[in-house]
Symmetry: C2
Subunit: 131 residues, 2 copies
Amino acid sequence: MSSEPISLGEALASFDALWSPRVVTRVNDYDVRIAKVEGEHVWHAHDDTDEFFLVLDGELSISLREPDGERTVSLPRGAVFTVPRGTEHKPRAPFGASILMFEPTGTLTVGERHDEVPDHVDVTTGHALDV
Amino acid sequence: MSSEPISLGEALASFDALWSPRVVTRVNDYDVRIAKVEGEHVWHAHDDTDEFFLVLDGELSISLREPDGERTVSLPRGAVFTVPRGTEHKPRAPFGASILMFEPTGTLTVGERHDEVPDHVDVTTGHALDV
């Protein structure tokens, strides 16, 4: 864990990969991760944890499969949303976005249940930030 | 927990109180809190948890009492920092700031150990957001 503050702008400038989160800092046994995203992720669910999103730049949409049916929420810059544990969801960002996530260390980007993972989605528990 | 995204801008516009966090959403047994701050908080420590700060607007300084002595880190807008558990710290923002925090639900604003709490510091585990 860095003993100095980290600029999210500098952290985002340090990598280009899409759908491939970097761990910025840790809070107890949770990660604060950032990612650049564009296009579509994959339908997946985290059975054991909620997942928090904050949009730092651009706009993120998250499609959700809920008991009442499917819906999509839109998060412009500065919006936050928590996907409840067990809820199948698919993030997407047609025009690109930068996002911050908060979730337990070890959480996989594609959860425990997911559709076939496309090549552009990185299956990871988050990479170290190199700043 | 809201089933719709929340705009941090609208959330911040919904209250004026300083050093009095609002709970924006929850992630498992953690709170995402926001606060408006100006002036000085109080020296305190959370013995059982790290505390994460993200500066949404303005600039936040956090003084830290570490084994090697006292130092102050400065967080401009868009910077993040995690105060390790057990570390005495005192946030301050001479010119004001808006901040976001991650910490376990139930965490007191003044921790378990603290100096005398001045009147302008709200001793709370966070208030409900009214948006």
